[in-house]
């Protein structure tokens, strides 16, 4: 006879073993299990909602996201800990070549939504528009876009109100938003050290909402009624307001694509879980989630082309 303690332990072990074996035994057919993803925090909300929809379609299939930033996706893909990496910026050459060295083929890139970067000012600020050169002169100290001199006061933009210095707000250098503005609007120059670096885009918008002298940048989905979005002026003098139409067509200058990077050997079809996930993301239902969260959905032609490349429609689940 075993002592009581030992017997209890054995019982627990047995229960654990049953639970561990249960999914393997009870699984009728794919797709079930957990889809692990690592990457962008901008896309965390999207991934979460897509995961919920997927769970409704296929009970038993869960999506798990570790959202520590776009930069965390390529190392995880290369190390093989994940097969799907959401990123709010394209992979850099170095990140791509690390993947190719490990697997011998490039990662598959899937565009899943569009996003735009907006410049916001306090709701009472009368500013009508900004050109790229002006944005560069306001935010950078290098002025590689060709501004004559830096714009540090609102008067330098030709307006009476507000008086005084332009207070600058943005994200810290880790963020993809920070990188996008630097690449697209500062001609890859350097930010002025006076730019306040916040930990999140919502904090940027909140800081601008509190200060009549402030200007800041954030993702399209972070705008609130307490700030005003500034239209951008192109060299021909046309104004571009960010809305779903201009962003989808690419008329609005500061747009970006949100992507999923997938580890898919060439010629092989996707594993069932990944396949189910992408099928959802590139469907009308998945794109409705995109719109709901304040991003911009993809045109039907782009969706169809990507579905074809991923072989989602033939021999499907």
């Amino acid at each position: 006879m075993l002592p009581p303690l030992r017997r209890g332990l054995l019982a627990w072990l047995l229960i654990l073993a049953v639970f561990a074996a249960l999914p393997a035994v009870a699984a009728p057919r794919p797709p079930v299990g957990t889809l692990d993803t690592v990457g962008s925090d901008t896309m965390a909300g999207l991934m979460l909602r897509w995961g919920e929809s997927l769970g409704r379609r296929y009970p038993g299939l869960r999506v798990q996201l570790q959202a520590s930033g776009s930069a965390s996706a390529p190392p995880a893909l290369t190390a093989g800990t994940t097969l799907v990496g959401p990123m709010s910026r394209p992979m850099s050459e170095a990140e791509r070549s690390a993947f190719v060295t490990r697997f011998g083929y490039p990662p598959q890139e899937v565009v899943v939504a569009r996003d735009a970067l907006v410049l916001v000012v306090h709701r009472h600020n009368p500013l009508t528009s900004l050109s790229r050169r002006q944005i560069d002169a306001i935010f950078s100290e290098s002025r590689r876009c060709g501004g004559e001199r830096g714009i540090h006061r609102w008067q330098a933009l030709g307006q009476e109100r507000p008086s005084g210095r332009i207070a600058l707000h943005g994200r810290n250098a880790v963020s993809g938003t920070h990188g996008l503005l630097r690449r697209e609007a500062l001609c890859a120059g350097s930010f002025r050290p006076e730019v306040n670096e916040h930990l999140g885009a919502a904090a940027v918008v909140a800081a601008v909402a509190d200060d009549p002298q402030a200007i800041g940048y954030a993702g399209l989905n972070h705008r609130t009624p307490s700030v005003r979005v500034v239209p951008l002026r192109d060299p021909e003098g046309r104004l571009h307001t960010p809305d779903p139409r201009t962003v989808r067509r690419g008329d609005y200058p500061l747009t970006r694509e949100l992507r999923l990077y997938i580890n898919r050997p060439p010629g092989e079809s996707l594993p069932p879980a990944e396949r189910a996930f992408l099928d959802l993301v590139l469907s009308a239902e998945g794109q409705a989630v995109v719109e709901e969260l304040g991003f911009v959905s993809l045109p039907a032609s782009t969706l169809a082309r990507q579905r074809r490349i991923l072989e989602l429609d033939d021999g499907g689940a």
Binding site: S142, G164, V174, G189, E194, A207, D210
Partner: protein, 408 residues
Amino acid sequence: MPEASSSPLLRRRLRHGRDRLATALITAGGIGVIAAVMAIGVFLAVEVLPLFWSAGADEPAVDIASLWGPQDYPGLAEPAYRWQPTLPEGDPGPRFNLAPLAWGTLEAAAWSLVIAVPLALGAAAHSALFMSRRLRGYLKPALELMEALPGVVVGFLAGLVLAPWLERHLGLGLTLLWLMPLGVVLGGALWSRLPGTARRRLPMGWAALWLVPWLILLWALAGWLAPLLEAWWFGGDLRGWVTATLGLDYASRNAIIIGMAMGFAVMPTIYALAEDALSGVPGRLAEGALALGATRWQALWRVVLPAAAPGVFSAVMIGAGRAVGETMIVLIASGNTALFNANPLDGLRSMAASIAIELPEAAPGGSHYRLLLLAALLLFLFTFLVNTLAEVVRARLRRRYRRLGDSA
């Protein structure tokens, strides 16, 4: 079994064995802690050193001059101090200058001490010497409980509540700054003129309670006075006046805000240690001074404070160490702008906040990574020195108390 354990010899042996085991465990624990602290220092030093002699081929050279002196950077008209470590590869190249970060760290700590030290020491002196014993029994634990408030919460409140509020009510803030101390002194003067019966109703020991309505009254007065004064002296726009006349720019996340938030965080530490030092002064010293005709102020200033000076000093030192190492408050409440100027109304970026933001992204082994560890090493050395100094001085205080106790 029962027979053996009841034998006195065996019991004694067992007790000795347990004693020896406990001693060994405690010794091992102590050595372990010391070894861990030294290991941290050694690890940081080993990781940092390659920075100075073996920079990688594509890494920019780093030396003392480029870390601390103004540099010529491509794209800038004149030499400047810049901490911009994550510019895109190649052009225009990362800028590693630690001076703005070190400056930001010290500036934040200095302003927090400017705000915390007078308040904490004043509170400590009052509660150690003048406050009624019962009230002190409530207030002291409450103040010490403030220390348990997480830095994240303090930083959040400072950044999202205090900073916008002060920006909107700059005039009120300035008015409070001079009206409050003046009003409190005025309150003291009024109190000493009160007739004896009224003074007995408002005893000195309970001043902390009956001063509260007086402070609310002062606040209301400041609220009424501030717009008038702002219109009268500054043309109704204090922020504009500061910019136009003093040439200072007002950033909403500025060094003063950080000072207030971090001052609030280090105040309980300084208060608790200083209070212990002051109330540890043997009571007969102050009583003797009072009996010889000294006023309460003279007894405090000439007798008790000098006797407790080392303890008060070490309280301030430990507060300074905490302010230098504090991360979350600066990270959240400041704009993290790596500026190198003395304007207290401008933002700052501290070394601790930089480490928190940038270390997860820095490639291990790269210059950026090693520079962040250098910043960590500097923080470690600074807090280590400050805390050691504080402990040495405190040990002297304990000896002094013993001597005072003996000679009495």
